[in-house]
């Protein structure tokens, strides 16, 4: 291993199998940039909902990071705290929660997101479902009322104090000392009142902490797509499918079916399409697979919102899409160079 000619120091050289250089892309960098892309959305959430958005997001991140640290110790592995993935999960999870949700519920959901959504399946890289949505779905099942009680945006005094519900004691019924109201989607679903598209785009409506400002969410998506840290095909396929289906339905019966702009801009669709469905681990790997996945999710969103019992369907649509991912990856494979046909199906993918 030492050298002779031309190297009087007889130094030790390392032997490596090629390639000898790497692109420098890293999991940490990708996760960090996702956090960066979410910052404007988080800032707007705090502007729109005040202190309660700040505490919700903070509690969500702390719960996820603490859960990650604890479970890492239990599992006996060390390396995944520094990769920002728990912060990304926590932040995304927090952004999907209604502002004013009792903080103890936020914490419970954060533990569930990391524990059930991620660690139960083997940790980062092995989660079949988006962990943030797993946490949220379990909260929705456990606390259906609290999870569908909405504070209006831009209320006076939102920076002065927290709504009383946020500080509710564990296992006690939260009380709301501020006015609550319907989200634009439930207003449409139950009363057929459509919010103006401009208010929806800019986020001057009630809804989950980080889902209201469509413009900032899209900007975050463009930022990640330009850095090639996100598959742009997935959100484009979802949004195009939702737009197309709802436009057709709206044309058939405008009074019953919401218009395409309303469907695109309301509820959690933007946040879900751009930041949730694009979770790399739980979405397909190939480009055609990503489009199929997006179309399925888009169609499910329209179906659930239009004919389901709930006003919103993005979360379940994405979770169902996640469940289809292994099947999509198994069925849709690239045609290998020099072969006439696609790869034969070959057992478990």
């Amino acid at each position: 291993m030492t050298t002779a000619i031309g190297d009087p120091q007889r130094r030790t050289l390392v032997i490596r199998s090629s390639p000898h250089i790497v692109s420098g892309a890293s999991v940490d960098t990708i996760m960090f940039h996702v956090v960066v892309a979410l910052l404007p959305i988080s800032a707007f959430a705090i502007y729109a909902f005040g202190l309660t958005a700040l505490t919700t997001l903070g509690a969500a991140i702390v719960a996820c990071v603490v859960a990650e640290a604890l479970l890492n110790r239990v599992a006996g592995n060390s390396g995944t705290l520094g990769d920002w993935s728990a912060v990304v999960t926590g932040l995304l999870y927090g952004l999907t929660l209604p502002p004013g949700l009792p903080l103890w519920m936020v914490a419970v959901g954060g533990f569930l997101a990391i524990g059930v959504g991620k660690f139960l399946f083997g940790g980062l890289g092995y989660n079949p479902f988006n962990p943030a949505l797993v946490g949220r779905a379990m909260l929705q099942a456990a606390f259906p009322v609290a999870m569908t009680t909405w504070l209006p945006a831009l209320t006076a005094g939102r920076f002065a104090r927290l709504p009383s519900s946020a500080l509710a004691l564990p296992f006690c019924e939260p009380t709301y000392d501020v006015l609550t109201g319907p989200t634009p989607l439930s207003a449409w679903k139950f009363d057929h009142v459509a919010e103006a598209a401009s208010d929806l785009a800019l986020g001057y409506v009630s809804g989950s902490t980080g889902e209201t400002c469509a413009v900032l969410i899209l900007l975050g998506g463009v930022y990640l797509a330009l850095r090639r840290m996100m598959s742009w095909r997935i959100p484009v396929a979802i949004l195009a499918t939702v737009a197309l289906l709802s436009a057709v339905l709206h044309a058939i019966e405008p009074a019953r079916y919401a218009s395409a702009p309303f469907m695109l801009l309301s509820g959690g669709l933007m946040l879900g399409a751009v930041f949730m469905a694009t979770d790399m681990v739980s979405s397909p790997m190939t480009h055609p697979g990503a489009i199929v996945y997006g179309v399925v999710i888009g169609a499910l969103v329209v179906v659930i919102r239009t004919w389901g019992g709930m006003p919103e369907g993005v979360m379940y649509a994405i979770l169902l899409g996640n469940a289809l991912t292994p099947l999509i990856d198994q069925q849709i494979r690239p045609r290998t160079y020099g072969h006439a046909h696609r790869q034969r199906k070959a057992g478990g993918a």
Binding site: V14, S23, S26, T336, G338, H339
Partner: protein, 443 residues
Amino acid sequence: MSLLGLATFRHGVHPDEHKEATEDLRIERMPFVRSYVLPLGQHGGKPAKPVVRVGQSVLRGELIAAADGFVSTCLHAPVDGRVTAIDRRRHPNGALVEAIEIEADAFSPQTVREGEPLDVDVMPREQFVAEVQRAGLVGLGGAAFPAHVKYALPEGRKVRELVINGCECEPYLTCDHRTMVERPAAVVRGVRILARQLGVERSTIGVEANKPDAVEVLRAAIGDDPQVRVVPLEVKYPQGAEKMLIKAIFGVEVPAGKLPLDIEMVVNNVGTMASLADWFDRRVPLIERVVTVAGPGIERPANLLVPVGTPVGEVLRQAGGLSQDTREVVMGGPMMGQSLASLDVPVLKGTSGLLAFTAQETAHPNEYACLKCGRCLDACANFLNPSRLARLSKAGRHAELEQAFVMDCMECGACSFACPSNIPIVQLIRASKSAIRSRRARS
């Protein structure tokens, strides 16, 4: 077609080029050193057979080992000198192999003895192929496969397109670039000789767009000859791979398991063309080649014309030696080259570069689980699923690997390069391929 409108293949990666240190440096002659080691097997196929004895004096360019069979080639003395040993010596790949050691004659002017040009226009094909083998010519792009084998067309086969590889898609390397810029006439002459022999009506030299000067001088050397053209290509790795180059220029694929010849094409490197011209016009065999010496650990990067058999350590010394913090010396390009365990190994006919890397490049970052981000799929020019192949390799599932076309992998390393989880994808695949090959050989 890319956004730039330049032709290219699909997928692949674009590593930082790092060519600026040497791309404008003229090729310098490496001074003669005391002793040379010439492994008999430094080309694809069977090793050559020595035709000299220990103690015998040899002249520069004299045959010292003859081809052993058809898929083998000749070896010539790189210097005037004396054979001091025919014994086992260290090959750059680490193995001990039979080699001829020659001590240079310190008093010789080391002039090349040129001969009368051969009239290649009237030469029958068999004689042409034999001449190329006598010249010891191999593909200079790195694989070092005997060149004449490609030119001996089986009965009934014809060649429609002659494709010349001037991509040099590996980072750091500039030996082909400098050869094109400094020896355009020899390159074009080689192309014309070969095109005439193969009966090809059109030859295409593919050059990546980061070498506009090469495109320009080659076009000037071609003049208004409609039978030879230069096609600038988008800069992308691994464009220099035969099958990718064909896809880039013609948009067609070579069927799996087949050779370019099966779709009536022959692909050769630009350096090989210049060496071909040297043999037929000047009777100079392949005894030296251009080597790029570069990388962050090299004090004085250079493009050197190095006699085959020169010890690597001497070449590095000519380039100012290694920096204190050098940790790795690579023979070849950074994407497909080989780490050297010792600097006391010779430069071979296939040595395109000697690169020195420091702790920064050799740092081994933590491996994460696969995030299924799909970057390796976008990197793979063969449209395999490297993530899946790596996973199956870790599990040792060879039957499934073969069904997923693992043997089609050309080990270009684009997947490992692109992986944000630092998974050694190509290294895992390489191990599986080798295990599958040895199992096939046993059965």
